[in-house]
Symmetry: C2
Subunit: 194 residues, 2 copies
């Protein structure tokens, strides 16, 4: 019973399916057929909407960026003090909808892809710059510029590292603990320079 206006629904479903497929097949074993099957459609339809596997992947990455960006926007809108803004960024990174095995795997794949795909690299830099500038903006109000930049880099690195580790569940570090670790790092640096 095909209805009209299916395009956005299918695009969404295929992107979600791609994220899942990346998670449990890996980039090497990723096929359009598998993705399409997970989305409940034929592989031909996936090609119809995205043109090619590469395009679907790029769209998936863009989706990840958008979701995370939206998460930040929501939280930053309610943060009034510099401290609250820092917390918003830290907690945004570990929000339940982001801090999931499938999503983390997809981000990992994204990082890999960026090494040999110019568009992926471009998108990734958007994320990196946004994260760092958000952190610097918050920290700038509490620390000397040089220290603020260092701390932003350290915190950003710690966040990414905690993501990486969460991907494997090798050492089970739940979101709350991750948040606490980054927060402690930042707040102790701020206190030291008070």
């Amino acid at each position: 019973m095909p209805k009209i206006g299916m395009e956005p629904v299918r695009r969404r479903a295929l992107i979600t399916a791609a994220i899942e497929a990346i998670h449990d097949r890996g980039m090497a074993g990723l096929t359009m057929g598998d993705i399409a099957k997970r989305a409940g459609v034929s592989s031909a339809l996936a090609h119809h909407y995205f043109g090619s596997k590469d395009h679907l992947l790029i769209a998936t990455m863009r989706h990840l960026l958008d979701e995370l960006g939206e998460e930040f926007r929501r939280r930053l809108a309610e943060a009034n003090t510099p401290e609250a803004r820092i917390d918003a960024i830290i907690e945004g990174n570990f929000a339940p909808c982001q801090f999931q095995p499938t999503v983390i795997s997809a981000w990992l794949a994204f990082y890999m892809q960026a090494q040999h795909d110019a568009e992926a690299m471009r998108l990734l830099k958007v994320y990196l710059r946004r994260l760092e500038s958000n952190l610097v903006a918050g920290l700038g109000a509490m620390l000397p510029p040089a220290v603020a930049r260092d701390t932003a880099r350290g915190a950003a690195a710690m966040i990414d590292g905690l993501w990486l580790r969460a991907a494997l569940k090798a050492t089970d570090v739940p979101a709350e603990e991750a948040i606490r670790l980054v927060r402690d790092y930042v707040s102790s640096t701020v206190k030291r320079h008070a």
Copy 2:
């Protein structure tokens, strides 16, 4: 002009070639033919020595682990104080031979592979545990147990995150700066608890 005793030479060359191929083709575009060509041999020879693509990949991962382990061993052998041991671990992670785009890409691929490959996961856990226990061992002499564990996790995460960022050269963070960031984090935590 085939000589005798080629096996270790070929194995080495193929593994290095695999690391390079992963870096600039990605896991998706990785082929035995490409790897073999980079190593200057036929793809048949790669199969002859490794049996299969999977085996070659596992051997490559094992090689990465061995190299890093050796780096640690060398540095830890000359470290007498707890402080020196911490430094040895931090600096070992950013040693020139480790902190290279190709090697970092391979580690990234390794992380991804671990999500759906049991052997890769097993190997990766070896690395994670070794890093964390080395850090905890050094920090235990200077900090209360709970704080030592947290700091070890924070430092380990920061190290991995700095690696991740170095992979892209998006935000150019040279080794010395990375080392300084992690060291500052650890030393300021130690001072705070002195």
